[in-house]
Symmetry: C3
Subunit: 258 residues, 3 copies
């Protein structure tokens, strides 16, 4: 497998939030390892320890960054324990994170691609804390990979059994995320909506439209969104507030009448 040269870009996805200096300190260690790294925040507001939502967010980066980008995902309730650290090569990028499913949405299919167990000791690393491996381990590894000090294959041996997350996409049709606008993002794929003209939620029939502005202000609509998923939205309003709905609530596709 021919790997791309590292782009020098490192993205960060964490559940650190922004109320503490955790992200900033992690960036300092990244720049110490790779002074020319270009750092991009993918998102730091993953709810604490929400591995599944972290994986969902991480997938949104696929194909959106230059080839050879290093994506680091630190949603890591097992920090400081024996859980492994993985680095996957997939979709032209490198994906670094704990082996708890947070990489599940971007892992190569079984038998394809290349996943490594990062051999922290042989890289010369020793965690200074047992609570902040983002700073002590993930940052230097990402910086070294982005800067070429270590190639992907030097990170450690192959991993045949990475933890695959319970995909948010599976299971009954439901809301999997409520975004900043109060849009209700469901696990219904856009392609499932082709024949339907409405989505059902909270006993209401919500018509399919092409974009928010295609319905009147403060009207509800179902739209295929930027995740390629069906989203219940309100034009210039919050569908979550109007419908009183939240993550986990069930939705359905209105079957077309023949």
């Amino acid at each position: 497998m021919q790997l791309p040269r590292a782009s020098g870009i490192v993205t960060l996805l964490t559940d650190f939030g922004t109320a503490d200096p955790y992200v900033g300190v992690m960036k300092g260690m990244l720049l110490t390892a790779m002074p020319k790294a270009v750092l991009v925040d993918l998102c730091h507001e993953v709810p604490a320890q929400d591995v599944a939502l972290g994986a969902f967010f991480l997938r949104s980066a696929v194909g959106r960054f230059p080839a050879g980008t290093v994506h680091v995902a630190v949603v890591d309730p097992g920090v400081g324990t024996a859980r492994r650290i993985l680095c996957a090569y997939a979709a032209g990028s490198f994906w670094l994170g704990p082996d708890n499913g947070v990489l599940g949405s971007v892992l190569p299919a079984p038998g394809e691609g290349d996943v490594r167990v990062v051999d922290v000791e042989s890289l010369g690393l020793q965690a200074k804390s047992r609570t902040f491996h983002g700073r002590d381990i993930f940052a230097p590894v990402a910086g070294w990979l982005a800067g070429g000090r270590f190639g992907f294959e030097a990170l450690g041996g192959r991993c045949g059994d990475p933890v695959r997350v319970a995909d948010l996409g599976g299971g009954p049709r439901r809301v999997i995320h409520v975004d900043r606008y109060g849009n209700l993002i469901t696990n219904i794929r856009g392609s499932e909506l082709t024949m339907a003209s409405a989505v059902l939620a909270k006993g209401r029939r919500i018509p399919v439209a092409g974009s928010y502005g295609d319905v009147a202000a403060h009207s509800l609509l179902a739209v295929v969104d930027s995740y390629d998923l069906v989203e219940i939205a309100e034009n210039q309003g919050s569908a979550a507030a109007t419908l009183g709905m939240r993550r986990g609530d069930q939705v359905a596709i209105e079957e077309p009448q023949s």
Copy 2:
């Protein structure tokens, strides 16, 4: 008109918030279009769809960045509809956003400057979604402009009728924004305060002072702030909380007695 060379800096003003990966993904597309772009967050906490406040915030960037900076403003309730996308050249910088007034505070005066309607198709762009043009259109256009792939004049034909926002500065004297500190920013220009020694709000007389620390701790003051507007503040406290005031509430200048 002699345009400056692009500085390579791109600023982002959006209503995306930070709880989702929307800003991060947009940055990925920017770096894909222009790998050396220097990205700066102007603000992402514009309240959802609040075009007028977005325009107010955008104005704060005027004159504060190197010449040739590309400023992108995505507060875009009409995303995916036929609303146009504009790029203006004004005050030494480029300003890219939807034609809904969010650029209103930085548009050149009628007859002056240069505003273009971005010709998305002729730039070779096709939006992959109808809900996220920040990612699909604004990011590549900004990256190409910042990187010199397209010059400003190649973005599209001239626009003679851009939407101009209802300026937050107009209308009755009132609070137009409450900032993080609970400072009440009004639409009274600093120059209007020259002769006055107090501002009136909620039945109280609030004395003019030069800076927060010029009054006792937890005392109210009226001060000309960094927007060059009159702001009602509380030294080491929140004027909004103390006065129970919010955006839209009326204020007045105490006329000097002759």
Copy 3:
């Protein structure tokens, strides 16, 4: 004293929050002063005017960034008054901030190191506002220092009496910060815990463990954290919520029984 060459990296610690464009505008002025500066947000969610917590956060950057980094701390309730502006050289880095204690955690010990009073006028600066020196003064000074326009010693004369903050580490044993996860960070140093097997809080005995995952999910533990301080945490939960504790609440070390 041999000073390191500036790394070109500038970190920002403020109480500006992210709901306003204040941080973005400050970055514009930094890039105007030093177009190649690499800007890193250390944290902007210091509670408004909380100088002591700002100092605590600032210390977390010590040793985590390349030598020659310029760290700017703007928690500045006295903005626009006669309070001085200081720049310290310590621990291989430059530390710029108001003389109110926010630099207290990183200042060199009395008689050691080098602290300067920034001579704003002789640097050619004139504040355009009396409320936003982050934009008008701190940003250009930091940019010039990071870019080499002025060396550290050219910033102004030596300061023999910088304000030293009441260290959050002093005083009775208590919670000094609650972080994003609801971890209760105390002022007990990690080394004080060596002999103890539990911490006492709210009448409960909380056992010492090495890492979050060393106890059962939703169990409490006391752990030496990444600040090298003792933290009361809940594995996969919020200790602050479970214990109903907050900043300032007292804690104690359970003395080992001999």
